[in-house]
């Protein structure tokens, strides 16, 4: 969707990502998703009187890894208290970073060649989770509110981009690329549906060439689809307002996925005064050069670099293959694809089986070594397994383990002897003379009829290409 001619949108994103640490940011409670409510809690993350925070070193390392990947400057930093009342925030303040974030500046290069600047990537703690019963489902007007503090104190990094994004598509690309980086650094699992990555979008519009307009902040976008829809809706709303002679009011807006629209949450005048001040319970955080170097040395290659390596190996991949390639990069299956290519597997096959079959059972990856992946694909490529059989073998190994050859044998996937296939084809020609004669006179699509019949008679053991070869030989 695009804006009317002469209009431009200006977008900056604030991405909150939960860090994949074993324990919470300031206490020893487990950082896991999906536990029974209020089971991963202690005096610290419940804010009981006299409790004190102790900073999780792993959270700091992951924040530094994100900053390093985003070309930020890692600096001595401090923690502040952001004061406001909300039932799911046990201390009624959030420990966050303010004027001295751990990561300052930086940039992210996107696959489309554009560059988005990064203002900061700072550490903060997550809040608990409220469920409001009755009313609108929001806190005001609710009959009751339930609070689960399991998420309270989970470490977050907030990555703030510059106002460099000019379309919803670019915003999507930025978020997707950032998600890839968060996964590659080991900082996050990138699971937006579990809330481990949440996005706020600052959107304004202007006539091309004019100064920046008044912005609105859309809170809590939980999927790339919502991000795109919300930005497009909001930019169009603002253009309509201005073209109708009105002005945009600076405010925080709520995105309603079902209505497909944004609505006012609070206007600037109602905004909380957070009364930031230095958190006196924590000392200054000063990562020395040696620590920064260890984090840098421990970083795996980022998606952009891996994309370059893989596309170079694939020659000139078709657009469809590029999408599958993004899945491979996202899931970190590069080594499988590269090993298959090294062994001479065709590029589309090497990518497709990883992006589809492996991707559908990631937990089974422990059962599937790179060698087994390559061996299965080679069997398929040599015609020893049909495509269907090859997928079945991969699924079986992912689920239960095993060697490709023995798994294929145990499933009865033995290649038909070439003579046997010829006999089946000859028999079918005899049984269907009309179809055979139409095929001979040039109706190529009837080959599918014969392939289907052969598969039926051979329990899927035949190879489609070989059936066509047999038909051609008899034409």
């Amino acid at each position: 969707m695009s804006l009317p001619d002469g209009w431009e949108m200006v977008v900056g994103l604030e991405v909150h990502t939960e860090l994949k640490t074993n324990t919470k940011m300031f206490c020893g409670c487990a950082n896991t998703f999906g536990a029974a409510p209020n089971t991963n809690v202690c005096p610290i993350c419940l804010g009981l009187p006299g409790s004190l925070p102790v900073l999780n070193v792993r959270a700091v390392e992951l924040a530094m890894a994100i900053g390093t990947a985003l070309h930020s400057t890692i600096s001595p930093s401090t923690f502040h208290r952001k004061n406001y009342f909300y039932p799911d925030m046990p201390k009624d303040f959030q420990i966050s970073q303010y004027d001295l974030p751990i990561n300052a500046g930086g940039y992210l290069d996107l696959p489309d060649g554009s560059r988005v600047s990064i203002e900061r990537a700072h550490l903060e703690e997550d809040t608990g989770k409220s469920t409001h019963l009755g009313g609108s489902g929001r806190i005001h007007g609710a009959d009751r509110s339930l609070v689960d503090y399991n998420r309270s104190g989970v470490p977050l990094v907030e990555i703030v981009s510059g106002p460099d994004i000019r379309s919803s598509a670019q915003a999507r690309t930025y978020a997707a690329e950032l998600r890839g980086i968060l996964i590659a650094t080991g900082a996050s699992d990138g699971r937006m549906e579990e809330g481990s990555m949440r996005i706020d979008a600052n959107v304004s519009v202007r006539r091309t060439g004019e100064p920046l307009g008044t912005r609105c902040e859309i809170k809590n976008l939980n999927s790339l689809r919502s991000l795109v829809r919300a930005i497009d809706f909001e930019a169009a709303r603002q253009v309509e307002l201005i073209e109708g002679g009105a002005t945009v009011r600076q405010e925080t807006r709520h995105w309603d996925e079902n209505l497909g629209s944004t609505s006012t949450m609070r206007v600037k005048e109602e905004a909380d005064d957070y009364r930031y001040f230095r958190e006196p319970d924590l000392v200054e955080l000063v990562p020395d050069q040696a620590w920064q170097d260890r984090v840098r040395d421990g970083l795996q290659p980022m998606p952009a670099e891996r994309r370059t390596v893989l596309t170079r190996r694939l020659g000139e991949p078709a657009p469809a293959l590029l999408d599958a390639l993004e899945v491979v990069i996202d899931l970190g299956l590069d080594s499988y694809v590269i090993a298959a290519l090294d062994a001479g597997v065709a590029p589309d096959l090497a990518v497709a089986r990883a992006a589809n079959e492996i991707a559908s059972d990631l937990e089974g990856l422990v059962n599937l070594g790179v060698d087994s992946y390559v061996a299965t694909l080679l069997m398929e490529q040599r015609g020893e397994l049909s495509a269907t059989q090859s997928k079945t073998v991969l699924a079986e190994i992912l689920a239960n383990g095993g060697e490709p050859a023995s798994v294929a044998a145990s499933k009865g996937f033995e290649r038909l002897a070439s003579g046997a296939l010829g006999e089946v084809v000859a028999q079918l020609i005899d049984e269907h003379p009309d179809v055979w004669s139409r095929y001979r006179s040039g109706d190529e699509k009837l080959a599918q009829f014969f392939i289907g019949q052969v598969m039926k008679l051979t329990n899927g053991q035949a190879n489609g290409k070989e059936v066509i070869a047999e038909l051609q030989a008899r034409r």
Partner: protein, 484 residues
């Protein structure tokens, strides 16, 4: 034989070791004293006799098997600001109604590990906000001292008024206390007891209900300098649960008590002679100077510029932190909850009902000074004064090892005499506040009495982690005052 409750901790340790008496007998003597006197003094808000006897019994067993800790069997009172596992802890505020922590403060855990026995929880000003123990939800504490020829009740100082009164009245051998702006030293001074505010971070803050986190520091109150040193030695530790705690071994404070002051330079800060200071306190201060000189110390006039700004700076920094620290008392999770028609009115009703006047005043001041548009003029300026205070002490300690001054500008006063005028009340802390801003240690030791026969305390101040020297200096003054 002397009454068991009159013994010092040092004497009681010897008596227990010689098996002159048992820890159980010692605990019973104090429980009996509490039984008799607490209704008049209101020093304890929650005596814990059963726990005391159980702990004393365990102490006796350890003494029998030769496993006695350094404070084995010593009965102590615990300020209600310290979280005690399974024992109600409210900071003497209604808002923590019925709160029983599932955890123990590090300081009390250290004391129990050393063998000490808990007699109960001691009264204090609500959330340690006050200088007279008049703001406690559980009512004021009465100072066991009276003016000569008068029966008028006097305040025991604050906020550790329960601690100072209980120690002075022999309702415990020593007590834990906390000092955010003088809350250990001022009550010690007006009850004739010894109290030390250690270096910031020397005692862990884990499990101590926070008032102003960058200023709060725990310390002991006892009847002698040696007892105070023994207690601090057990309370102090490096604690990984408090990242602001001092990461250094705890010196043997008790061994330092008799080291004297020979060869030390004691500075006399000119700025501590403030208008309105009682002449009798001024006179005793000068006598202290003479005694230290006689004991071999060099005396030197020093300057602590900006001292007059410390008090206003403190009354910005402390309320600012308090306004944030006390936000969590919102009725959602624990303590008091007053119903409301929505979450905001529940917050409002709970906090209106749960907090007392002084606490509300400080929350309002603190919220104001941190607000957008006022931050720079108040909180920002106060932080600059704090830096100047630290700097002034640093310069003074280039010229002197220790500083000597009065602890308080006046002796114990009558109830209600300052409650109507918060500024007059706040002035009680004028000499104690600078060392909270700087994070440096200071000890108050009884030094004579004024005309009305009320105790007066003098204060020795020192640079960071100079507690051992402070104990030695305080001991010289104690001996000079007639307690060899």
């Amino acid at each position: 034989m002397t009454e068991l409750t009159d013994l010092s901790i040092a004497e009681a340790r010897e008596g227990l070791k010689r098996k002159d008496f048992s820890a159980t007998e010692l605990a019973r003597a104090h429980l009996a004293a509490i039984e008799v006197a607490n209704s008049a003094l209101n020093a304890y808000v929650l005596p814990t006799p059963e726990r005391a006897l159980a702990m004393a019994k365990a102490s006796d067993a350890r003494i029998m098997t030769g496993e006695a800790g350094p404070l084995e069997g010593i009965p102590l009172g615990i300020k209600d600001l310290f979280a005690t596992k399974g024992v109600r802890t409210t900071a003497c505020s209604h808002i923590l109604h019925g709160f029983t922590p599932p955890y123990e403060s590090t300081v009390t855990a250290n004391l129990w590990a050393a063998g000490a026995v808990m007699l109960g929880k001691l009264n204090n000003d609500e959330f340690a906000m006050g200088s007279s123990n008049e703001t406690s939800f559980y009512g004021p504490v009465v100072n066991p001292w009276r003016r000569k020829g008068s029966s008028a009740q006097l305040v025991p100082g604050g906020s550790s008024g329960g601690s100072s009164a209980a120690v002075a009245a022999r309702l415990c051998m020593g007590a834990t206390a906390t000092d955010t702006g003088g809350s250990i030293r001022q009550p010690a001074a007006v009850t004739g007891t010894v109290g030390i505010k250690p270096t910031y971070g020397r005692c862990s803050r884990w499990g101590i209900v926070a008032f102003a986190s960058s200023l709060d520091q725990a310390g002991p109150i006892a009847r002698t300098v040696r007892d105070t040193a023994l207690l601090l030695g057990a309370m102090a530790s490096h604690d990984p649960k408090d990242t602001t705690s001092v990461d250094a071994p705890v010196p043997d404070y008790a061994a330092a008590v008799d080291k004297g002051v020979k060869g030390l330079t004691v500075g006399i800060p000119a700025e501590y002679r403030v208008a309105g200071m009682a002449p009798e306190i001024e006179a005793l201060w000068q006598q202290g100077v003479a005694w230290l000189k006689a004991a071999g110390a060099k005396i030197k006039e020093v300057n602590l510029p900006h001292t007059k700004y410390a008090l206003p700076a403190y009354y910005i920094v402390a309320p600012a932190e308090a306004s944030s620290n006390l936000a969590r008392y919102d009725g959602v999770r624990y303590g008091l909850r007053e119903k409301g028609h929505d979450v905001t009115s529940m917050y409002e009703n709970t906090r209106r009902e749960g907090f007392g006047q002084e606490v509300k005043r400080r929350i309002l001041i603190g919220t104001y000074v941190l607000s957008a548009g006022y931050y720079d003029a108040y909180y920002g300026q106060a932080l600059k004064v704090r830096t100047l205070t630290i700097d002034a002490f640093r310069r003074a300690y280039r010229e002197a090892d220790l500083l000597l001054g009065a602890t308080t500008p006046s002796v114990a006063f009558e109830f209600g005499s300052k409650t109507a005028d918060p500024m007059a009340m706040y002035l009680s802390d004028v000499f104690t506040i600078p060392s909270n801003l700087s994070g440096e240690p200071a000890i108050s030791v009884p030094f004579g009495t004024g005309e009305a026969g009320l105790p007066i305390g003098v204060q020795l101040l020192g640079p960071g982690r100079s507690e051992a020297q402070l104990f030695a200096g305080a001991r010289v003054l104690e001996i000079a005052d007639g307690r060899p």
